[in-house]
Structure formats: structure tokens, C-alpha cells
Symmetry: C2
Subunit: 158 residues, 2 copies
């Protein structure tokens, strides 16, 4: 199914069930919010998005612990979890999603190569994080992350 | 010139001159941030973006005065100015841009029809706001706003 159709189905389902979502995007840079808001009626479901590109913005806007960034790096499981959990609490929504990774083509290291991304999903029940490695260009990278998020949202038990 | 090429030229110029930018997007829903972050090296220039889709997020994240929203509506010159000015100050950047409008196809009124958008630009020197009316679909609407912003950024005196 075409990706906008899939997003629309999620928005219709979530609208019907009164489920709200907020995103904290680092490496995807606004693509997830953009794609959701291409659907008319997104405002019933999508509350806000924070494009926390700099470390300072992660700290200022999402209360990410500076120690987590210093100790584990901005691209880490723990920072992804903090992004997802905190965007959910701060936005007062049902689902918070946090994304941090290295879109490339520069910025990679042997430990954290280009294409590495952590996606965290936070609900009242729990906060989980998935690690992926996408060997694609910068723009396709964003699409791959969106596809992962859609699989999560399509299968969440409401 | 292709739009990504134009964004790249702005990013190269701003990187060279040490100019930083932040966006507060309502009706464009992340598209502006997404397009800027499609360019590798955007992080030298783009500090953060706030997708303040709900009124609450405008108040929480951008200190928009609730009285401005109540008196003039979220889609108004004054709210656009508050978005641009406050995102600049809060992000500690050189240029803050705020966008509020009605992407449609629903949500319009005789006073504020679908396609109406206010784009505000804030620098240390001043904060100005432009009003536009785009008679296009929801996705083209976002592109029209980006084109306006690019014209501003391409012509700013640094």
C-alpha cells in the first residue's frame, strides 16, 4: 500500500479511538511530522513534533539528561528512550516516538556507522527501543524510519 | 533552480557566515525542517524546529500568549510574529521563522479562508510578517510557503 494511504489509515483509526501522538525527531529532521500532516485531519491525532537537531535542543525542549549525551552520545538507546518518554509526558499524548541516528553521508564512526538509528516508542504501558542499520542515502533513510514507525502504529493494541 | 539546490546554496552561504536558523511551523507541519535537513551539513545552520500543531504546543513550547490566540486566533499576524520572535530567542539563533495558516481542505472561514498563511521572519534587527493566500492543495501549499521563505533567506543582508 502506498505510504500516505497507510498513514491515513492510522490517522483514521487513531481518531476513532481518541489516540494522540507526538514525535521527537533528530536525524529524520521533520519528515515524520511532514508526512503525517499531509493527511487532512491529522490534527485530531498529531499533537506536536519537536525537531531536536542540536544537542542543546534535546536538553532544552525534551529534558534529555546531559549526562546521557556525554556518556552514551546523542545517538544511543538511552537518548532515544528519553526522547520518546519525555515527548509523551510533556505533550500529554498517548504515544511518544523518539528518533536519533546518523543519516549521513558524514558523521559516522566505526562504533556508530552512518545509517544507524534508534527508534523509541513510549506508551503508558512501556517504552521500548529498536535499533536499525539502513545502508541507504539520506532521504531514503528517512523513509525507512517512517516505515518502521508505521509498522509499530499499525500493530499497536489500543 | 531546483528547490533542494536553492536550499543547499542558502545552507552553504549561512555556514560560511555563521548564521543559524530555527523554525516554528504550524500549518506546514514539518515540511520546512524536512527539506532543510535533506541537505548534508544542515546541522551547521539549522538548530531546531518546533511543529506546534496544537494551540497548547504553541503556548507550551513557544510562549505564545494565550490572549493572542483567544483574541486574534492561532492563524493571525500577531501569533506568527510571536512564533518567529520567540523561536529565535529560545533557540539562541540569528533568524527565527514562524508559520501559521490554514492548509485545508477544511478549517476555513469567510474571514480566514483555506490557503491563508502568515509567515513571520525575526532577526535581531526586526520582526516582519507577510500574509499570503495560496489557492492550492494541501501539499502544494507547503511548497509555496517554502518558496517564500527561500526568497527571504536568499535576499537577507548578512
Amino acid at each position: 500500500m502506498e505510504i500516505l494511504e497507510r498513514i491515513k489509515k492510522v490517522i483514521v483509526m487513531f481518531s476513532f479511538n481518541g489516540i494522540s501522538v507526538a514525535f521527537a525527531e533528530s536525524c529524520t529532521g521533520g519528515y515524520i511530522c511532514h508526512m503525517f500532516t499531509n493527511i487532512s485531519g491529522a490534527s485530531n491525532v498529531f499533537e506536536r513534533g519537536i525537531i531536536c537537531y542540536s544537542n542543546q535542543s534535546k536538553i532544552d525542549l525534551l529534558n534529555v539528561d546531559i549526562k546521557s549525551i556525554e556518556q552514551y552520545g546523542a545517538v544511543s538507546e538511552i537518548v532515544a528512550k528519553e526522547l520518546a518518554f519525555n515527548v509523551r509526558i510533556l505533550s500529554n499524548v498517548d504515544i511518544g516516538i523518539g528518533i536519533t541516528g546518523i543519516a549521513g553521508p558524514t558523521g559516522g564512526t566505526p562504533e556508530k556507522p552512518v545509517g544507524l538509528v534508534f527508534i523509541a516508542y513510549s506508551t503508558e504501558k512501556d517504552t521500548q527501543v529498536d535499533k536499525h542499520q539502513f545502508h541507504v542515502d539520506r532521504i531514503t533513510f528517512k523513509k525507512k524510519v517512517l516505515e518502521e514507525i508505521l509498522v509499530f502504529l499499525e500493530n499497536i493494541e489500543i
